[in-house]
């Protein structure tokens, strides 16, 4: 048996047993964050907080939700919305949270792209981040099935049909995923399982991994400068006003976290404003009709955050469309390897890459807007051009970054 002294405080008692002081140092007081960053670096913790809110509101929704094709629609639209005390609140928080989490994910991603925070040791941060993006997409899709309205049903039909692989006709695979010829009870039950257990577990694991990948490379900064963390940490720990001013870093907790909390405060004002006054943007009116396998809604479109990739599928014939869609889903994973430039610097210092960045952002916005419009006339054409531009941009990326001058 190991030797234990009688502890003089709870902290010491815990430290003897699980090394809590070491843990606090590694994860908080000696996890160094550069001073030279801006509010965009708070998006990561904003995401973590939003995930927490989704989890809590989800737990309360779960208390009355009924995963049966006969009862699901009413358990949400009648029981939770009108009978359960404050049931509407959890539902609106959950809907608004699911939508905003993607807005923040996109901001977080494009911040990373702008500052080059995905290379020279930060590749795994990017890859684990993309893994989170994919898992959140699966989580959002499976959750969208649960109210069993018209959009749930038909989105479920169309998206699972993607797995037939066009001319490959893997109809067996589609039926396997559904557990039936069409989305029905087996389908609803398994997507319920995915949404409330398997995906959240995987997301929590991926968040831990994402944080782990940040610890050694540390977060980037506004100039992409390579900081001497040891020297800066020494200056901070010296503790004088002078040395702390000279140090280029601050501890994650409590110093940086307090800045994060400020940004979160502003964010949550917006968040709850939407929850109370504008929740309808996160609730599709078509989904307030119960699922009907014999009637398709006039327009089927996904939630706004999937529109850009949906629009890449739409303008092409089936097979090329599927290939384009599949590539669009995974192409962002390859960013650290397609960017051949040795520079870690903000885009505005990187010449052609600066233009690439804004073109990519605008192209994805155009795709998003076109995805919502009916596929007719001029909209089809703009959609097609934007989809092709997306691929041209990715093909040109290795070339323009290869030609980039070393800073």
């Amino acid at each position: 048996m190991a030797h234990f002294e009688k502890a003089k405080s709870l902290n010491e008692w815990l430290d003897q047993r699980i090394g809590i002081n070491t843990l606090k140092k590694v994860m908080q007081s000696e996890y160094w964050i550069p001073k030279n960053i801006n509010f965009l670096w708070a998006m990561g913790m904003v995401l973590a907080a939003t995930f927490g809110i989704l989890l809590v509101s989800g737990i309360f929704l779960l208390m009355y939700y009924n995963p049966s094709t006969d009862l699901a629609f009413d358990s949400v639209n009648y029981t939770i919305m009108t009978e359960v005390g404050y049931g509407w609140l959890w539902r609106h928080i959950h809907g608004v949270g699911a939508s905003l989490v993607f807005l923040i994910i996109y901001i977080h991603m494009f911040t990373g792209i702008y500052y080059g925070s995905y290379k020279k040791g930060r590749e795994l941060i990017w890859i684990s981040g993309m893994l989170l993006f994919v898992l959140f997409s699966a989580e959002a899709f499976s959750g969208y099935m649960l109210p069993w309205g018209q959009m749930s049903y038909w989105a479920g039909m169309v998206i699972t049909n993607l797995f037939s692989g066009g001319s490959l006709h893997a109809d067996g695979l589609v039926e396997w995923i559904r557990g039936d010829y069409v989305p029905a009870q087996a389908f609803l039950s398994r997507f319920f399982m995915l949404h409330v257990l398997l995906m959240p577990l995987a997301i929590i694991g991926a968040i831990v991994f994402h944080f782990g990948t940040l610890r050694l490379p540390h977060v980037n900064n506004q100039d992409g400068k390579e900081i001497d963390f040891e020297e800066s940490a020494r200056l901070w720990k010296e503790g004088t006003t002078e040395s702390r001013r000279k140090s280029e870093v601050i501890p994650f907790s409590p110093v940086f976290l307090s800045k994060d909390v400020f940004v979160m405060g502003v964010y949550f004002i917006l968040f709850f404003y939407l929850v109370f006054y504008h929740f309808e943007f996160a609730m599709d009116p078509v989904n307030f009709d119960p699922a009907n396998g014999l009637k398709t809604p006039t327009h089927i479109y996904p939630e706004w955050y999937f529109l850009w990739s949906y629009e890449i599928l739409r303008p092409f014939p089936t097979d090329p469309g599927l290939v384009a869609f599949a590539i669009a889903q995974v192409i962002f994973f390859t960013l650290p390897f397609l960017d051949m430039s040795p520079n870690v610097a903000p885009a505005n210092k990187r010449g052609a890459f600066h233009i690439w960045f804004w073109l990519m952002l605008i192209d994805m916005l155009v795709l998003t807007f076109m995805g919502k419009l009916p596929p007719e006339g001029i909209w089809s054409t703009i959609g097609l051009v934007a989809a092709i531009t997306f691929f041209v941009l990715w093909i040109s990326l290795p070339i323009i970054t290869k030609l980039e001058k070393k800073l």
């Binding site: 049909n161 069409v182 398709t296 014939p317 089936t318 009916p374 596929p375």
Partner: protein, 175 residues
């Protein structure tokens, strides 16, 4: 095999892998459609009361089934475009019978009786009165469900000789 320790490691690893494969197989099977789902598969529809150029929607295996009795004019058109083979012939009448799910991604196309054609609102695909595709993205006409002719009735789910012929000459594919 250099030592007993290696042997034990490999034996343990082998049995673990075996158990893992078994577990994966069980998981795959658990996701399979249930036998009761697979077995429920036969629907009889009567074509006697169908009216020319009026779309009737039936249901088979949870999927919509389109039935469209062809007018003389539509039959002529089908003959010209060599699509008569897509129609089911009973006595003097011709019927289009097809699974009402777009072959692109499975939305239900809507029928416009004045244009005698279908439009899929999802991605703009179009079909003519025999449910042959006339505008992409759908890669082919609507699929024809397995059927057996029984007087003026059709048994969906059973493969009669007329259906087998359609399969054989590539008019439709298996659904």
């Amino acid at each position: 095999m250099s030592s007993r320790r290696d042997f034990m490691g490999m034996a343990l690893g082998g049995f673990t892998a075996l158990g893992g494969i078994g577990a994966l197989m069980a998981m795959k099977k658990t996701w399979d459609p249930l036998p009761s789902v697979k077995a429920a598969g036969f629907t009889t529809i009567d074509l006697k009361d169908a009216q020319e150029n009026v779309l009737v929607t039936e249901k088979w295996r949870g999927k919509p089934i389109f039935v469209l009795k062809q007018s003389k004019e539509m039959v002529e058109k089908a003959k010209k475009s060599d699509e008569l083979k897509r129609l089911i012939n009973i006595g003097d009448e011709y019927y289009m019978v097809a699974v009402g799910l777009c072959t692109h991604l499975g939305c239900i196309p809507g029928y416009d009786s004045s244009k005698q054609g279908f439009l899929c609102a999802c991605h703009g695909g179009q079909y003519d009165g025999t449910a042959m595709v006339t505008k992409a993205p759908p890669p082919r006409g609507l699929d024809i469900p397995p059927f057996k002719i029984d007087g003026t009735k059709l048994v969906l789910g059973e493969e009669g000789p007329e259906y087998k012929k359609m399969l054989a000459d590539g008019t439709t594919m298996k659904v």
